[in-house]
């Protein structure tokens, strides 16, 4: 099957990151729950402050994306927010985000839900809307304040962050979209029922039938349908629930460490769920040069992957400094002890 391609040339006009200030070291989780003896998957994760949620983080990432795009919010014809931690079960995050950006009222807005793929699914929707000619400007956001059950292994990595992308016409783009592939199947690797606070993971479904099956299939399909090889790309960014999975999947696709390391942030900020692969993409766009290609594959449990091929234009170096670099959000950090983390994230019932 051929890759999906827009009906007219389109790309990313602006991108924006947001990572909260607080960090919880994995060694602190191990100290509290495992006697300090557990083998920890990452160094630390980013933790939202007590006044933050997916909406507030989405707004800051989106404002950064608009600043780089050089446009006002009123130009947006769609605002789509992907998250598994929307603050309301019923009431869209996207209308609050749109209002805060000055978008609408004549606009599309909706919340997207697909575990860690919700943000890239929103990006695919924006690509479809603009690529079909139905609109000239659409915003896609991935934002999460992911929660792991205390003592569960997910607690080491479930982090907070947001990334936003303004999709528009090619002549104003900092990166052009060359084509994409989406790949989904019913896989019980990770789920959370409606009234439950914490998710469950489906044990043996996590690795091979979940992450690797979807990331590798979507990635290989896109490479073959575009007639490309990994050597054509300067960077590869994959969903990063831990450092091992993306490194192994990238290697299996034929990429080298110098192609994936610049976009691999999980060791310093954790798995930011719907923002995870998208934040990796912002970090790569912070350094990519005109003409360089970026290969991107997300993954969301349940399960599915979106693979996109991008090529950077000469506009990127001129616009990247219009908003804070992803690295500057990573550098801004305040360590928390476990007790303060538990207080901030509502894990203590009063």
């Amino acid at each position: 099957m051929p890759a999906m391609r827009p009906s007219r040339p389109i790309g990313i006009l602006g991108y924006g990151a947001y990572i909260p200030r607080y960090r919880l070291q994995a060694s602190e989780v191990a100290r509290v729950w495992h006697g300090g003896q557990d083998h920890v998957p990452i160094a630390q994760k980013a933790v939202a402050g007590p006044d933050e949620d997916a909406i507030t983080m989405a707004v800051e990432a989106a404002r950064n994306a608009l600043a780089r795009a050089g446009i006002a919010g009123e130009r947006l014809q769609a605002v789509w927010v992907g998250s598994e931690s929307h603050p309301y079960a019923v009431k869209p995050s996207s209308t609050i985000v749109a209002e805060a950006l000055g978008a609408g009222p004549l606009a599309l807005a909706a919340d997207v839900e697909f575990a860690c793929k919700a943000g890239s699914e929103a990006l695919q929707m924006a690509v479809a809307l603009v690529g079909s000619g139905m609109a000239d400007c659409a915003l896609a956001i991935g934002a999460d304040t992911a929660q792991g059950r205390p003592a569960d292994e997910l607690e080491y990595t479930a982090g907070s962050g947001a990334a936003a992308f303004v999709v528009g016409l090619a002549d104003e783009a900092v990166a052009l979209l060359e084509g994409s592939v989406s790949y989904v199947s019913d896989t019980p690797d990770f789920f959370r029922r409606g009234q439950e606070h914490y998710p469950r993971h489906g044990g043996r479904f996590t690795g091979e039938p979940g992450y690797f099956a979807h990331v590798l299939a979507a990635g290989r399909e896109l490479l073959s349908s575009l007639g490309r090889s990994p050597a054509d790309y300067a960077y590869v960014v994959l969903h990063q629930p831990n450092p091992k999975f993306p490194a192994r999947a990238a290697a299996e696709l034929g990429f080298r460490p110098e192609q994936w390391q610049p976009g691999l942030l999980v060791d310093r900020i954790g798995n930011t769920y719907a923002a995870s692969s998208l934040l990796g993409l912002t970090a790569v766009l912070d350094r990519a040069e005109p003409g360089e290609r970026v290969f991107f594959v997300s993954f969301g449990s349940g399960a599915g992957s979106d693979a996109l091929s991008l090529v950077v234009t000469e506009k990127l170096p001129l616009r990247r400094h219009q908003a804070p670099a992803t690295a500057s959000y990573i550098a801004r950090q305040q360590l928390l002890d476990y007790a303060t983390y538990a207080r901030f994230r509502g894990k203590i019932a009063l």
């Binding site: 507030t56 707004v59 800051e60 209002e99």
Partner: protein, 134 residues
């Protein structure tokens, strides 16, 4: 609760986007927006979205919070002087109270203010944090 919903809703643009007033007669910027200029009493006031950049003009640390703000204690409430000149009273965030100083550069961010209980609406609005250089 029933009375609060329309009131909070009416203020959403001012709170989400820091929209204040500027007097077309004397040029004074002020927040929140008012129909009459507090400086010259002129009645020709335009709405303006402020940059959100400013400095701490003065501040106080809150240890006994009003209802709805208990979870943030201790926190800082500051008067922030915006680059446009307007003074805004707001909570500071992402900062330890001991780090706050008069003159400190800050910028506006959208954050949660409070919620109307576990099943009520969430109220969002402006806060200020130490400025993050781009």
């Amino acid at each position: 609760m029933a009375l609060q919903l329309p009131r909070e809703w009416r203020w959403r643009q001012e709170r989400y986007r820091l929209i204040g007033g500027r007097c077309r007669r004397c040029g004074q910027a002020f927040f929140p927006h008012r129909e009459i200029c507090p400086r010259c009493l002129g009645e020709d006031v335009a709405k303006e979205q402020f940059s959100g950049r400013g400095r701490v003009y003065s501040y106080a640390t809150v240890y006994k919070a009003p209802v709805g703000f208990e979870e943030y204690v201790p926190y800082v409430v500051a008067l922030v002087q915006l680059e446009e000149g307007a003074l805004v009273a707001a909570q500071l965030t992402d900062v330890d109270p001991t780090e706050v100083q008069i003159g400190m550069p800050v910028e506006c961010v959208l954050r949660r203010w409070r919620t109307n209980g576990p099943d009520g609406n969430i109220i969002y609005g402006y806060k200020f944090r130490p400025r993050l250089e781009s």
